[in-house]
Subunit: 301 residues, 2 copies
């Protein structure tokens, strides 16, 4: 089953204690699309500027990503510059230039409207709603957001939440959205806002999944070298939804396996700067690390 | 198999966002002993003052804890006062009175010297070494420590590390001891200092176990109400070593199950102030939550 993702396509400039990278391909839609492409075909809705290089379009093409919904506008591509601390959970945004993203209204190509799986990446909830309204045969919508929208566009976000199946956010965002510091109570509050499933990303500490019937907790895959945490959350979402779309198994067991596949893909992403590691990754490597993940966590079989 | 624990026995005064408790029984040896008592008999080495009430001695007695090694000295019992933030991972020490603990030299009763399992709680490494030197038939020694000893008594601590099988510390202590921020590399460095197994406690995020051959990662049991995190780490160590001493199974599988039992006991500890929850806990409740822990984490069976 193919997946439509709406989100940002960006130039990222990144500094971490391990090194730096200038103007590499980034953005939520980019990470999501390449991560999901290991399991399912992906179609991007987004916007780029005149300065977006052919090289990056070819990168998407090599991963079979459909770019009909990626509009090129006059102006420059969205840019972000950030610096990570020694504690990689903390980062400072040094520059943010919306450029072509400001005023962007996503328009879904006719060929995308029958999509079954949709990921609403972290963008203005108004844009997320635009995309939702165009879809005619959706089976599953997952959504991300961030503190900026939770604080500044809460009503619009709440309208989106009432129409989605899954929310994928990090723990501080879950606390902010619910107003509750305890993460279990926070997730229960968010379930009442609409989503059937809430996935809480905890970075190097793993993922929690909440539904009315069940809680699933998994650690992250421990790594000796983390070069660049950028895009880990979107890679997780991509691996998760990509696997789910491939299997079509929405049972609790299916969801849990998809979460571990998402965690595995994200663990590769952070091994190098930007999308570099994902572009050399093979499905065999993913399967091998999935098996190691079982060895890592099993205590009862 | 019975366990000897050396550590502190204290009066704790605790403030958390959920409430407060004055002068309740605390200290590393107290939490460890009661937690371990669900699985194995425990013998305490420690010191109390003239003000230590009969009520608390009876609490230990009800859990079958042998108190022959708990010396009563003239003076007051060790006291600690702390306050937790909204983020329960952060706490401030408001008062600390060593009292009878200053100058304490642990002396092992003759009847303890044949102990097979030993836990060196978080005290001066010189005291830990005193206990180690008296033991004649030890099968397994586990040890805890803290930033104070890592920074102030590193040589003495290193001597202890060369003689133990397992180190149980939290993540910030592991970083401090190794000088490495990455937790996987930090654990590998510590393995080179002596211990065969390093257990990294990550509070609400769970536990990592490292040995030369294997890594095990497990989340913590998610709770809707955490009243008081005090003693969670020592309860974990108690449940872990208690279960290990009961089964005698030191295989990787045995260690992993012991880690989950330790996590389960710790999850009960934090549900109420001080030792209150552990004193009403039953083995049946522990077994029930262990089964829930399997449901919480399983994705592949």
């Amino acid at each position: 089953m193919s997946i439509v993702v709406v989100g940002t396509v960006a130039f990222d400039s990144i500094e971490t204690p391990q090194g730096s990278a200038e103007r590499v391909l980034g953005g939520s839609a980019s990470y999501f699309a390449v991560a999901a492409s290991f399991f399912s075909p992906v179609r991007i809705v987004g916007v780029i500027g005149q300065d977006f290089p052919q090289e990056y379009l070819e990168l998407f093409a090599r991963h079979g990503v459909d770019l009909e919904g990626l509009k090129r506008e006059s102006g420059e591509t969205f840019r972000w510059r950030g610096r990570y601390h020694e504690d990689l959970n903390i980062r400072d945004t040094l520059e943010l230039h919306l450029n072509v993203l400001s005023g962007f209204v996503p328009s879904l190509p006719e060929s995308y409207t029958d999509a079954s799986y949709v990921f609403l990446g972290n963008i203005d909830p108004r844009m997320q709603m635009e995309v939702l309204n165009r879809l005619t045969r959706v089976r599953l919508v997952a959504c991300d957001t961030m503190d900026h929208w939770i604080q500044g566009s809460r009503d619009e976000l709440q309208r989106v939440l009432r129409r989605i199946e899954m929310l994928v956010i990090n723990d501080s965002e879950a606390r902010l959205l619910s107003g509750d510091h305890n993460i279990v109570r926070a997730a229960r509050s968010i379930l009442k806002m609409g989503p059937k499933v809430v996935l809480i990303k905890r970075g190097e500490y793993g993922v929690l999944q909440f539904s009315d019937a069940s809680i699933f907790a998994t650690p992250a895959y421990p790594l000796e070298e983390v070069f660049d945490p950028t895009g880990a959350g979107d890679s997780f979402a991509g691996g998760f939804l990509g696997y789910l779309a491939r299997t079509g198994d929405h049972s609790q067991r299916g969801l849990r396996r998809a979460i571990v596949y998402g965690s595995v893909v994200a663990s590769f992403t952070v091994e190098d700067f930007g999308l570099r590691r994902l572009t050399t990754l093979s499905l065999a490597e993913i399967e091998e690390r999935y098996r190691r993940f079982i060895e890592l966590t099993d205590f009862h079989t």
